[in-house]
Structures are given as C-alpha cells and as structure tokens.
C-alpha cells in the first residue's frame, strides 16, 4: 500500500543506508538490538522466576545481563570509533511498529556517537550500581523484584537512547518513568514512598503530555518521526520552519518548546522538579542510577538529539538556557540548608541538570552532554557513598545526626570526597572540565546574566558540597550512640563500585581536554549541531575564566569549611540562620513550592472533582433523570385511579370509544 508521496522521498534516503549495510556483510549494527535485549531477558527471568531462585542466581542474572550489555556496548563503541567520522551512523530496523494511513513508525535502533556515549554511561554506571545493589539490598525480602525492576529500567533507558525515531524514544521515555515509579515505590509499604512514586509519575506525565504534543507537531510538519528524515528535511525546510506560524513563533519553536516541556518533567527542572526530591524515598542505588546518572539526563539527551531543530529555534534555546540557569541556582540554594543526606544530593542533581540545560541552551550541545557524562560518574558516586553511610548507620539519613565517620569508613569517606570535589568543579576532577566549559560557553555566547547565575551557582555548589562532606564525615559523631561502635565500611560489592566510580570521577574529564576541542567533542561533532555564536571561541579568555570559576567554587568550599569545621566559626551558621530567619525559613521549606502545588493545584482540583461528582453528576444530571421518573410516577398515580377494576366500566368505555370512532368514520369526514 502506498502512503502518500512524501514516503517516496525518504525512501531514497533509507535505501542509501541499507546499501551500506549490505556492502559490509556482517556488521556490528546487526548487534545493536542485543544491548537492550539482555536487560530485558534479565527482567523476564527475575520477575517470573526470581522468587524461586536463590539470591546468588538472581544477582548473577541481573548483573550478568548488565555486564554483557556493557560488553556489547563497548564493542559497538570501538566499532564506531574505527569508522570514518561521517560513517558513524548505524541504523537497524527491527520491525514496523505502527503503520496506518499516513503514519508509520518503526522499532528501529540508531547507533551514532551520541547514543554510543549514552549506552556506555547507562550500561557502565548501571553495571556498577547493579553490583553495588547486591550488597546494599542484600537483606531485602524483595531482592529479585528489585533486580528485575533495575533490569527493566536499563532496558527502557537503552531503548530511549538507541531509538531511531521519536516515538520509540517516547516508549523508553515513559518506560523509564514507569521503572522510576516502581523503584521509588519499591518499599511500597511506606506511605511516603508510595506517594512519592505516584507524584513522580504524575508530574512526569505533565511533561510527557507536552512531549506528545511535540511529537504530533513534528509529524504534522515533517510527516515522519524518524530522526534522519526529520533532520534531513529540517535543513531543506529552513525557511518554512522558521517563518512565524502561530502566536508569533515559528513552527520549529513550537516543536522544540513542546519537546522541552517533556524534558522539564523528566529532568526535573523548574517548575516540574518537585518529584525528584521526594523520589529519594526509593532505595539509594535507585537514586544513584535513575535519579542521578541516567533517567533524569534523558531530557538533556533528547534536546541534544534534537539539536538540528533547536538550532533553528533561538527562542527555544533561550528558554532552555534560562530554565536551566534558574533551576541551577534555585536548587543550589535549597541544597544549602537541607539536612537529609540524599535530599541534598537530589537538589544538587537538579542544580547540575540545570547546568546541562544551560549548556545546551547556549548552543554548546557537546558541553551539555559532556557534563551529563561526567555528572553520571560523580553523582552516582555521591549517591552510592551516601548509600553506604545510610547502610552503615542503619537507615539514618539526617546529616545533623552524623559526623566523624571518616575514621570508621575510610573508603567511603575518601571516595565521597572525590565525588564532592568533582561536583564542586575543582581542578582536575571531572566536574571541573565540564562545568567550566558550560560557563565559558555561556560567557562566550554573550549570555552574561546566565553566566553570572551559573557562577553564583558554582559558589553555592562548593558550599553545600563542603557542608555535606564536613557534616557527614568530619567533626564528632552526633548520632545514635548505640550504633556508634559498629560503624564500618561497606562490603566489597559496595566498596569496589565506589572505588571504580571515584577513579572515573577523576579521569572522566580528561577526554574533554582541551575544552571544546577534546576527543569527546570531536567524537560527538558529527551528531550535534553547534549553536552559532558559541563557536566563535575567544580562547584567550579560557584560562582566566577557568581560574575564576575555580576560585569561586573554592571560596564556596572555604566558607563551608569555616562554617562547619573551623572551631572558631562553630556558631556562625546558627547565628546567620537566626539573623536571616525569614529567608532561611523560606529556603528551608524549599520556597514552599510543594505547598503551593498542594494548595493551588491538587487541593482545588480535588474539591472541584468532588463537586462535579456530587454537585453535577449526582445532583444535576441524575437529578433531572430521576425527576423525570418521579414526574412519570406522579402522573401514573393519578391515571391509575381510572382503573376501577370493574369490568363494566371498561366495556362502557370501549363502547363509547367505538361509537365515537365509527361516528367519525361515517359522518366525520
């Protein structure tokens, strides 16, 4: 069946690709499907058989699936590197998923530098966290269920990054949301966890609705959802796409804005970030994998993937950058005053995600992805370290009740310190290279306000990271004295991932040297479009700028040290908190955003729904229906008095009727 002419034009495009595949005979792209398949198989085994398998087997299946997947990813990665840069684009179409009328979407995979980086991050960090979970979840009764969910998550995440079209990306997009839901609510018996899970899913759905609209717009504009075809056409239709369409904005602006709504939801940006802090109700490995390293970065991945569209929409890019910068500083301020170890890291994650959006928003897509990649390492490390602490302290999460842990848990403390420094952006740790690059790109692109916001955020980052580390590991132990004697480092299954990640947090940044020109960037260059202005690099400023941001972050750490370690400044935080009481309370309560949503969205909607049900459905519609029935009843009550039950009356009325009727027939007409 032929589906419109536009199909034909793209046909040529895909023929080219297929030819290439055929020429190579056996080729690596035929193996792409293996990457997500192993986690899926692991999921199926563990969800159906897990309850009957021994724990050892469960963990072997799950970790094995991830390990093999990681291995295949590495193989694909090296295969890709061996290809010439312009050939680094492998597609594999498994089957036609949906095809009806003019719509067609395939289940197909795309391996290019961007997705290669992503699958490495997902499978690599994922594998380490799987291993870590063996120890962390060792005593949980739902061991198998946990690993099944983790594997399912990995499957969907790999689907998300490997998809060759927007619809399949959306499948992964919602799929990781589902797994996030399941894993946040893993300890579903805790009402807080159950609520957090629901909140996460529903808030994400708000974003997803926007994302869907973006999909629809892409399809009505391009007639396809496949990346290659969309981007290819986007070049050709440049003028049409950027011409003002609705509301003074161009089509492509609307598309990219709609997609960005999805990114806001998934990557926890203002104003839809509220689910992420609550998501900390899930087990810590989940926070590390989903809510730090992989899923939440899907939004950045998606924007970067759509860079050919975003570069056509400067307005959207500006929105992205502003949302990112505001989120970065907003979340950083909250992180400074939180006391829950995981929540501090969660707000830090939100803040770092803001930086990534700032990066892609100023057109430095590669820098955004670079930060995504380094962040995956050090933020996973921080979460896992926090997990080790929580594990050791018997589920104590309040940093005010910690302190002085370093002597007892040296591995954890040192690796955590590495992670904190990387997060704060201290030379030469991974975070330094990527974050500095983003700030430089912002400055270089002439977005001075954004740059300043980012710089201020960097100061706060240094401060809260220092606060977190010092309160947790330095000073004296302030927690439950009963646990004081048995605080110890984690078992090797937890320790080794920490060490590996710590090493990564140090070296991961080196692939990005020199800034914006490193191997990492060159690898990604064929995929990512560059946002014009940012590329006219004034490299003379690079080093001074780097020093400046380093100084700012260092200052943050210094203040943290003075506040929380130095004996003479011991009381300063309290004094400041007291002096700025109003501000402190607002920030401590997270700017009352949750309360705002509760009072102005959830509450009213609930009341409205109840009113509609009771007030409209039951009262008005049913009232009308029952009213008619009652009216009938009353009428028939009157009419039934005619029924005397005496046969004579009936006969007489028949007789009268017949006479009248006949009379009408005879004389009436």
């Amino acid at each position: 069946m032929v589906h419109g002419n536009s199909q034909n034009r793209f046909y040529l495009l895909s023929v080219n690709r297929e030819l290439r595949t055929v020429n190579e005979g056996f080729s690596m792209e035929n193996l792409i499907w293996l990457v997500p398949t192993f986690p899926l198989a692991g999921f199926l085994v563990n969800i159906f058989l897990g309850r009957r398998l021994a724990r050892l087997w469960v963990s072997w299946v799950a970790c094995g699936a991830m390990g093999i997947s990681f291995g295949v990813s590495l193989g694909l990665f090296f295969h890709l590197i061996n290809l010439a840069p312009h050939l680094r684009h492998l597609e594999q179409e498994l089957f036609t998923w949906i095809r009806i009328a003019d719509f067609k979407a395939a289940a197909g995979f795309l391996l290019d530098p961007l997705s290669a980086v992503m699958i490495l991050v997902v499978t690599g960090v994922g594998f380490l966290i799987h291993v870590y979970s063996i120890g962390y979840m060792g005593e949980d009764r739902d061991f198998a269920r946990f690993f099944a969910y983790l594997n399912l998550f990995a499957f969907f995440m790999l689907l998300l990054v490997l998809a060759n079209n927007y619809l399949l990306l959306f499948v992964g997009w919602e799929g990781v949301g589902l797994c996030s839901y399941l894993l946040i609510g893993f300890w579903f018996e805790r009402p807080a966890a159950a609520s957090a899970a629901q909140k996460a899913f529903v808030v994400n759905r708000v974003g997803d609705a926007g994302f869907l609209l973006g999909l629809f717009l892409i399809w009505t504009t391009f007639g396809t959802l496949q990346y290659g075809e969309v981007f290819h056409q986007a070049e050709g239709l440049h003028g049409v796409l950027t011409a003002p369409a609705g509301g003074g904005l161009s089509v492509v602006t609307w598309i990219t804005l709609a997609l960005f709504i999805g990114a806001i939801g998934k990557s926890a940006q203002l104003p839809l970030y509220v689910w992420l802090p609550d998501a900390m109700e899930g087990p810590t490995p989940v926070s590390a994998l989903i809510h730090a390293a992989t899923m939440v970065t899907a939004g950045i991945y998606m924007v970067a993937r759509s860079s050919p569209l975003y570069t056509l929409a400067p307005f959207s890019l500006a929105v992205v950058a502003w949302v990112g910068a505001l989120t970065a500083i907003f979340a950083a301020t909250i992180a400074c005053v939180q006391n829950d170890i995981k929540r501090v890291i969660a707000y830090s994650t939100i803040s770092q995600l803001g930086y990534m959006f700032l990066g892609v928003g100023v057109g430095a897509f590669a820098s955004g992805i670079f930060h995504l990649y380094t962040h995956a390492a050090f933020k996973a490390l921080l979460f896992l370290g926090a997990g080790a602490v929580i594990h050791a302290l018997h589920h104590e999460q309040d940093i005010q009740r910690m302190g002085g842990l370093r002597p007892h848990m040296r591995v954890t403390a040192y690796t955590f310190a590495v992670g904190a420094l990387a997060n704060a952006g201290i030379f030469p740790f991974a975070g330094f290279w990527s974050k500095d690059e983003i700030l430089f790109a912002a400055f270089n692109g002439g977005f001075y306000v954004l740059w300043f916001l980012g710089l201020a955020g960097a100061f706060l980052t240094g401060f809260y990271m220092a606060r977190l580390y010092f309160l947790t590991f330095e000073g004296e132990y302030r927690g439950d004295p009963h646990h004081a004697h048995d605080i110890h480092d984690a078992p090797p299954t937890m320790g080794i991932p920490l060490i590996v990640l710590a090493v990564c947090s140090v070296v991961a940044g080196f692939v990005g040297i020199p800034p914006e020109q490193g191997p990492f960037h060159q690898f990604l260059a064929p995929v990512l479009h560059h946002g014009g202005a940012a590329q006219a690099a004034a490299h003379g400023l690079a080093v001074p700028m780097a020093v400046l941001s380093l100084l700012v972050a260092g200052a943050g750490i210094g203040v943290g040290y003075l506040f929380y370690v130095s004996v003479s400044w011991r009381n300063v935080p309290e004094i400041w908190a007291a002096r700025l009481q109003g501000l402190y309370r607002v920030v401590y309560h997270k700017y009352y955003v949750d309360e705002f949503y509760q009072d102005w969205v959830v509450g009213p909607l609930d009341r409205l729904a109840f009113f509609l049900w009771r007030g409209f459905d039951v009262a008005v519609v049913d009232g009308a229906v029952n009213g008619v029935a009652r009216l009938m009843e009353m009428g028939s009550w009157g009419l039934r008095r005619i029924q005397t039950g005496v046969v004579f009356n009936y006969v007489l009325s028949i007789l009268v009727g017949v006479v009248i009727f006949l009379g009408y027939l005879v004389w009436g007409r």
Partner: protein, 559 residues
Amino acid sequence: MPLLSLITFLPVVGTLGLLIIPRRRRNLIFWGALGTSVLTFLVSLRLYTGFELGVGEMQFVEAAAWIPSLGIQYKLGVDGISLFLVLLTTFLTPLTILASSGIKHRMKEYMVAMLLLETGMIGVFLALDLVLFYVFWEGTLIPMYFIIGIWGGPRRIYATMKFVLYTMAGSLLMLVAIIAVAWLHGRAGGGPTFDLTVLMNAEIPPAIQFWLFLAFALAFAIKVPLFPFHTWLPDVHVEAPTAGSVLLAGVLLKMGTYGFLRFALPLFPQATVTFLPWISGLALVGIIYGAWVAMVQPDLKSLVAYSSVSHLGFVVLGIFALNGEGIAGSVLQMVNHGLSTGALFLLVGMIYERRHSRMITDFGGLFRVVPVFAGMFLLVALSSIGLPGLNGFVGEFLILLGTFRVHPVYGIVAVTGIIWAAWYMLAMIRRVLFGPVIHQENAGLSDLNWTERIVLIPIIILIVWIGVYPTPFLRRMEASVERVIVQVERRQSVHSSGFTVQGKRAMNAETSSMNHKPSIMNPSPAHGSEFVVHGRGAIHGLSMNPELSTLNREARRQR
C-alpha cells in the same frame, strides 16, 4: 458455509442444549456454556484467518429476504472495523463465563442469559440491515436486564431500570430515524430497503440529515456513554455482577461508538460535519470530566466506570477526527478498552469475592498479601493509562495524532487526558496495593487461583501483543477505515456546492500531499488558503490519502 450466521447463532444453539440439562447438574451446565462460547471463539478465529487484506468492503456477506414486502433483509457482513469487535466479543465471553464459575443462584438461567447476550452483541456488529441491527441492538438489552436485575447488587432494580430506560429513550428515536431513512429512500424511488450498503448512497437533504443524525447520535451517545448521558454507567457497573460489568464495559459500550462509525457517519455525512464540533466537544469534556470525577470515587467499580467515560471520550474524539489515524486508533482503542477495562472489572470482581467490599478505603498493602493479583492489577492499570509498550498507548496515540492533525486545539486539550488518567489510576493503585496493610481482614487474603489466572493471562498476552506489535490489527482495519472516510468525503462533495468546487478542493489536496505532508502549522504560504478549509470543515483529513481513495472509487465504479 454461512460462517457469520454460524458465529452469531452458535450461542443460541448452546442455549437450547443448556435448556434440556437438569438444573441440578451445575457442572454440566457450566461446562456446556463454556464449551459453547469457546467453540464460538474458535469458529470466529476463522474470520481472522480468512479475512482478506486490503479489502474495505464487507466480507463473508450473507443475505436472505426476511420481510420482503418492507425490504427488510437478513444481511450479515464483516469488515475491518467490525472484525475485531466480533473477535473481542467471542474472546471475552468465554473468559467471563469462566470467571462466573462461582455463581450460586440460578446458574442455568445465568448461563443462558450470557449466551443470548453474546448472540445479541455479535449480531449488532455483523448486521448490515438497519432493522436487523435494531433487533440485535435492543435484543442485547434483555439478557443484560436479567443479568443485572437478578444477579446484581443491592440496588440492582434501580440500576436496571435506569439502564434500560436510558438506552430505550435513545434507541426509540433511532428506530424512528431508521424508518425515516428507509422511507426517504423509498420515496426517492429506490424501492423499500433497509440495506445499509444501499442506503449509504441515498441522498438525504442536509436539513433532514440534521434531525436523523441527531436521533442516531442520541442513541449512540447514551450507549457510549458520552457526557452528559453517562450517569447510568457508574450505577449500573456498581450493581452489575462481574461478568455483566465486563461485557458491559468490554463490548456493550462499543456498540455506541461502533454505531457512530458504521451508521451515523456514512448515512449522514453532512450532518456529521455539522455536529462535529459539538460531539468532539462533548467527547473532550467527557475525557476530562470522567477522569476528574474518577479521582474522587470511593468505589473501585465506579472509578473504573468513570474511567470508561474518559476512555470512550477518546474513542469518539478519534472517530470524529475523520482521518485514517484517528478512526483506526479509535477502532483499536475500542478493543484495547475492552481488554483493559474488562480485565480491571474481572480483577475487581476477584478481590470482591474474597473481601466482599469494593471500597478503596477497605484495602491497602495488597501488594504484599496477594502479589500475583497485584502484579496483574498494576499491569492492567498501566495498560489502561496508555503506557507505551502496552495496548492502550497505540490506540490513544493514534487518536490524539489524528485529532491533532485536523484540530490542534482539541488535540491539546485531549492530551491532558493522559495526565489525569495517570493521576486517578495511580492514586487508586497506591491506596489499594501500596502502603501498609491497614485492615486485618486483608492480611489473610488468598492469591489468585489457577482458574482466575487462566482467565486473565489471555487478556494480558493480548495487552502486550497489541502494545508491541499492533500491525496485524492495523493492517486488517486499514482498508475499511479508508472506506468510511472516502464514503463521508464523497457524499460530502456530492452535496456541497457543486462539482467545480469539489474538483478544486480535491486538486488542492492532491497537490498538497505531493509537495509534502500538509501541516497544521501551515508552513508554506502556498497552502495558506487550505488551512482554513481543513481546520473548519474536517475535510482535511479526508483527502489525506488520495491514491487510496481514488483506487477505492474506481473499484466501486467497476462494480
């Protein structure tokens, strides 16, 4: 072999068999009924395998004179639209019968009613004669009346009365309209006939179409049910026994949407376009209203009932998008809703049998107590909220896509439906499955037994299948969907302002699709004038597939 008649009346034959079994032999009655329905399902699979792809016309057609003097025929036929609804019916009936093995009271009558209901439902989807359709349509009321009225909950009498009266109120007007259509056709010199395929070509003046469409639409809207005619649904669902709820939600409601698609649209194309904004508007209100009200329902069944209002709002919206994506999505979504909501009602029924309560507040923490139940419940709920990879998504996505394509604003409003769906469904999941076990009664609940698992597993397999690989379904319905669209479009042009205008419009459509897919955002100035027409007239989507429609038209001419 008259396959369609066989499928339709096999349950009746089974009923006759049941009647001679003494009522003491409960097992025999049960297995007899189950065997009959399974046999019906197996026979109906022949429809699937023997269905000719790419044919939009009716297949397996059987026709015989019934009341020749009035032109009433016994005429059955199946196309890509009714095919899956028939299969859905024959698929769900055995499962509901299997799920009813616990019926204690008057099992024989119950099984007879179920089988008669099956015949009625299949007949509705297969009938090609308006009178025959009406007979089956009303015929389903009778067994349903008894199923709810005898085996229902405490307020069953109120519920049955409401159900029957609501439905009758609509369908009587439809009867009048049916007679009017045939009469108009006869008066125009066409001879007496109630044959749908003939009447589709009858030219009815738009002013009369207006009223006839209204009469048909009222009957269908009540059945769907479209806001604000939906208030019977929660009451009936709450009182109906499990099997009644499953078939009601799974199949009976689809009779309404199917009616729109099979009768209202092809018979009254102009009126369809006239009423399009109104019906789409009601569907939109229904989507959001149903979801909001579902949020505050204390009773599991009424929650699912209101969710049906929301879901069927989607289906109606897709139908009235009047393009391939929307209508195909709607047909698929009818099946999806039958599966997901049917499974939800089955699950609620299963937990009700154990706990004797459907109040959400009586539950909590079931995930720990009954993990298999909980897992299936979760999966089905996720399918119901349209999670990609499960069936609900494909249908919902296509509907939204089709709607957005012609009416972006409707699309934007409807898309929020997925947020509310997640909201109420997950809140329900949280309160029922998650959290600690609050009520001691729940601690000792037993998990699903094998019978119950056998009931649910086929549904779940289909849920995943349609979600992952819907192609076999979409392929079979495609040509028929096109045919409906072509029919509406063609009649549209006959009646609109003359041939020249039509020719120009068709040319417009052709050129536009040659350049590139028409965009609602109207990217190229050359198509500037087109947007207005499309946006308002809903003809836009109709001319989307010029090749196919031309082919169809030529095929018709040759015939």
